[in-house]
């Protein structure tokens, strides 16, 4: 019985790292409610399961240890779905996303795609993200084809990559399209999203412990929340494209 396994009976505890608007952040910057697409969606999930929601703010390195140790039931905080992660945890995808590039206003370095226009450029990425992986792979392609490589600098938080771009340390930063939109909306005078062709083939997922009784329950509930339009409403609230909600509760 999955209800017996809850950390606190009658409550769904979500470990969340509230440093990634519009997905999760504090309502007034440093305090107040944790809001954002993930926060609201997990709350909707709890409601669907007839539970109370508890958002447990935990910085990134502590998320999965807390899940494993039974400090929380679920980690719903804008984590990508990947095979490596699925080897140790159950994932339920909920939103499609893709990489975008933010550049200085006017795109002076002419970054138009995630392939050869990056060669010879200086790019910032959040460390160990899939986006960083894209840069590393493209760097190899650049070098293999005799072009200049990409100078990649990795920062722990998105806000620091923005700082590096604003201070001219890099020519562009790579971030999920969701993140890109948020960054530009807050720095509209100086930054813009690079236009051109960009990939869109990754998904955000909520994670549960491997083999948890909760996993199929969450999977079913998320499917329902997507089909009944609850998540679409939340997406609109945060200027996200409801089209990107995954219709298939695919790989686990």
């Amino acid at each position: 019985d999955w209800k017996a396994d809850l950390v606190t009976s009658g409550t769904l505890t979500n470990c969340i790292d509230p440093e990634y608007p519009p997905m999760e952040y504090y309502s007034n910057g440093t305090s107040g409610k944790i809001i954002g697409f993930d926060a609201d969606s997990s709350a909707a999930l709890a409601k669907e399961l007839k539970l109370k929601i508890k958002q447990l703010a935990t910085s990134f390195d502590g998320l999965i240890p807390a899940l494993n140790a039974g400090r929380c039931d679920i980690v719903w905080t804008a984590l990508y779905l990947s095979n490596k992660r699925l080897a140790v945890a159950d994932g339920v995808p909920y939103l499609e996303t893709g990489a975008g590039v933010v550049v200085a206003k006017g795109n002076p370095k002419k970054i138009t795609d995630l392939s050869f226009s990056l060669c010879g450029k200086r790019m910032a990425a959040q460390g160990a993200s899939s986006n960083e992986g894209i840069l590393i792979a493209q760097n190899k392609v650049c070098l293999d084809t005799g072009k200049k490589g990409i100078a990649i600098s990795s920062y722990p938080k998105v806000s620091e990559t923005v700082g590096a771009l604003l201070n001219g340390k890099v020519d562009g930063l790579i971030e999920t399209d969701v993140g890109c939109g948020d960054i530009v909306s807050k720095n509209s005078k100086r930054l813009e999203v690079a236009k051109g062709y960009f990939l869109g083939d990754v998904q955000f997922a909520a994670y549960m412990n491997k083999g948890a009784a909760l996993t199929p329950v969450v999977q079913k509930a998320v499917e329902k929340l997507i089909s009944n339009g609850t998540l679409a409403k939340i997406a609109k609230r945060y200027n996200l494209d409801p089209e990107k909600l995954t219709s298939v509760g695919a790989p686990i």
Partner: protein, 235 residues
Amino acid sequence: MDFESKLFFEVLFSGAFLKGAAISLSLATLSQFFAILFGFFLAIFRLGKNPVLKSFAGVYIWLFRAIPALLLLLIVWNALPQLIPALRQEWYSPFLAALLALSLLEGAYMAEILRSSIMSVDEGQALAARALGMTPTQVMRKVVIPQLTRIAIPPTANEYIGMIKYTSLASVISLQELLTRAGNGVSATFRYVEYYAAALIYYLVIVSILMILQSRLEKRYAWISTTKKSGKVSK
């Protein structure tokens, strides 16, 4: 990006920052207190003759100087309750877990500081005190500790101030102190100048108060008769 002073003052006097500072300060103070306690006994063990205690202290200091705080915090918060069921209760809060981890860790550092302070007390001092019939405990309390304190104050103040900033690591076990709050704000708004400037003000105030306390303590331990006005302390 211009400096938005309105945002700055808002942040500076926000409840979240005040609460964050209170958590930093109380966590650091308690951790440092217990660390001094642990560290003192570890130092005594290491300088003493009992081989079991001596090697225990040696291994402890070795291990806890090596282990990164982040890792120890994760262990204390996530792994320990699996071994000790009592810790799964509500009362075992992130604050308590952080207090445990930071005290254990800092204890190893304080042990080394106190060991060197004890060594700096002249041997003749303990000899004279023992000759007066004091027990080892009395020698410690009446003669060695007052003298080592003088030497130990500045490095201990160092550790304490460092600890106040170190508490930010506890965000990994969902404790939200000052610097974590600032980081949250920056992530939400990308206005790092205002948020970090506000945090810096807090740190400057806290450190100023501590440094005043430190210099008062040091004066108290200067061992000059207070009746004298012009203190000639040539060096």
